[in-house]
């Protein structure tokens, strides 16, 4: 069991009032808050160690380089990568996926090929594949989601039909940011590998919430962001299997990623430097390593269990509200720590405005899932997404606030 009060004391931002009410932060699917240790790491870096990496021979440069490469090793351990060189620092999940779509897509996709993704992807794991397919003449195909509320998860029978030898790449989310669905990622990778397709996992919603082992999953590429796992904004990771990275051309070129340059040509360094042109985001990478320490000290298995308790508590209590439509897995079924819901009579933005007055931070809208919203016949939902510092008491306050709001709008 996690000691939630002790954890809450680690997060300075939680101890404030919003509109005169204690802040209840339930927008963790968008970004998580940062513990003191991560904030201190950023301050320490800029006050003591700041220098450019890989370039200087002076003390600060060596310190900064050691800390930056130490963070790479720390993150490799966090996801059980075989080699720290498989960790490429990016700005976040979006940049990581774009890097694969452009570099790998450009080298390997041709007319007649199929890129497979799913109907529940965030725009960041959908639009880059549309672009890659368009540029190469490949076709983009979607694994359908089952159920009027998306409660049935992805159609596994359809997946088997769709995974033909023409499929060169299968990109899917580990956890849906809108439905809360947890996809069987290892099974997806196994099936994709059987037809020779490369896999790309969007782990933005799962990486800080559940144990994650890239080798056990059998993933080829994994993309995630630091800021949803207690780390800073502006830093993320692309994990790629070494054998794949070594064949891949860089997407961006410049300083730091070249071994030899003449006026006529340039030769690339091996991964990871090959994919990190320019001065990297040292401070945030180092702080992301600290976030890994923080989460592992608590135990991601315990965080996952806490998320699950909150999700089931929210499902049970929210379902007592008149006129509510909850999308995603039904009560009792596996679900990550988030719940999206809608009321026919009250728009999500009105809900969020009323909740804000009660100190509650919620997300309202299409959650960068416009095609899925359209398929479910929704213009948007309200989402409450939980993390390690949230409590059942906060869910009670959420439900009480929502009850007042729907009553105000005349829903009975």
């Amino acid at each position: 069991m996690l000691d939630i009060q002790k954890i809450r004391a680690d997060f300075p931002i939680l101890h404030q009032q919003v509109h005169g009410k204690p802040l209840i932060y339930l927008d963790n699917g968008a970004t998580s808050q940062k513990p003191r240790a991560v904030i201190d790491s950023l301050v320490h870096y800029y006050e003591r160690d700041n220098s450019n990496v890989h370039r200087g021979l002076h003390a600060l440069s060596m310190r900064a380089t050691d800390a930056y490469e130490g963070a790479r090793t720390r993150i490799a351990k966090f996801i059980h990568a075989a080699d720290p060189a498989e960790i490429i620092f990016t700005r976040g999940t979006t940049e990581s996926i774009n890097l694969v779509a452009r570099s790998w897509g450009h080298a390997h996709l041709k007319p007649g090929d199929i890129v497979l993704t799913t109907e529940i992807e965030h725009h960041s794991n959908l639009v880059p594949w549309q672009q890659a397919a368009r540029a190469s003449g490949a076709t983009l195909t979607y694994v359908p989601v089952l159920g009027a509320d998306g409660e049935g998860g992805l159609d596994l029978a359809a997946l088997d039909r769709l995974l033909t030898p023409q499929v060169k790449l299968f990109a899917f989310t580990h956890i849906s940011n809108t439905l809360g669905t947890v996809n069987p990622a290892a099974e997806f990778c196994r099936r994709a590998r059987a037809v020779g397709a490369v896999t790309v996992i969007d782990a933005a919603q799962s990486i800080g919430h559940t144990p994650f082992d890239v080798q056990a999953l059998g993933a080829d590429f994994v993309a995630f962001s630091g800021h949803k796992m207690c780390g800073p904004t502006g830093i993320g990771v692309l994990y790629g299997r070494r054998a794949l990275l070594d064949q891949l051309a860089p997407d961006e070129t410049g300083g730091g990623m070249v071994s030899q340059v003449t006026y006529d040509d340039a030769r690339w360094k091996p991964a990871p430097e090959r994919f990190e042109a320019g001065t990297p985001n040292m401070a945030d990478a180092i702080a992301l390593g600290v976030a890994c320490d923080y989460l592992d000290a608590l135990g991601r298995d315990r965080i996952a269990a806490h998320d699950a308790v909150l999700a089931q508590c929210a499902m049970a209590k929210l379902s007592t509200l008149p006129g509510i439509r909850i999308i995603g897995p039904r009560a009792g079924a596996e679900r990550s720590g988030l719940v999206s819901f809608a009321f026919a009579e009250v728009h999500a933005h009105d809900i969020v405005t009323f909740a804000d007055e009660d100190g509650l931070a919620l997300r309202g809208g299409h959650h960068c899932n416009q095609p899925l919203m359209r398929k479910l016949g929704l213009t948007g939902t309200t989402r409450a997404s939980f993390y390690l510092y949230n409590t059942e008491e906060e869910i009670d306050l959420l439900v009480a606030s929502l009850r007042r709001t729907v009553k105000f709008f005349g829903v009975t």
Partner: protein
């Protein structure tokens, strides 16, 4: 409930949200424009039948929060029969109301939107329908195939 919230969600707004006026496609329309707020997903289409330089008929269609839907509904009742310069003047007054919170006495129901000014993120919700209407007035005429009207 805070005073700001009750000021935002006035009875006039709740009424227009619950029972929108002039909602639906206008089959006789000879102008149409579509507006959306990509960040929040609100959408609004405004259909006009221009008779000379005046709006003879108007309707709107779309989805969004109570503020955006009520504002579009109320707008249709306010600009019917008006010319483009008259609509521009009304819109300027409305924009002043939602950005400053000051509503002159003679401004009718539009004053109900004064509470929006305390919620800067919602100003674009209140102005969405107006933008679509102004765009529609500027747009090229489109051919119509029917004279039947189905505004509910």
């Amino acid at each position: 409930m805070s005073a700001d919230l009750t000021e935002l969600y006035q009875q006039v707004i709740l009424d227009h949200n619950r029972r929108p006026r002039n909602r639906g496609k206008l089959p006789t329309a000879n102008r149409v424009a579509h507006g959306d707020n990509p960040t929040c997903g609100d959408q609004c289409s405004v259909y006009l039948r221009m008779d000379g330089d005046r709006i003879a008929e108007i309707s709107f269609d779309g989805s969004g929060c109570a503020i955006s839907q009520a504002s579009a509904s109320l707008m249709t009742t306010q600009i019917k029969g008006k010319t483009a310069p008259e609509v521009q003047t009304l819109y300027k007054n409305f924009h002043d109301i939602v950005t400053t919170g000051n509503a002159p006495e003679e401004i009718s129901d539009l004053g109900a939107f004064a509470g929006v000014h305390a919620f800067p993120a919602r100003i674009k919700c209140a102005t969405l329908g107006w933008h679509a209407a102004i765009e529609a007035m500027k747009s090229d005429p489109m051919p119509t195939t029917t004279t039947e009207s189905h505004v509910d």
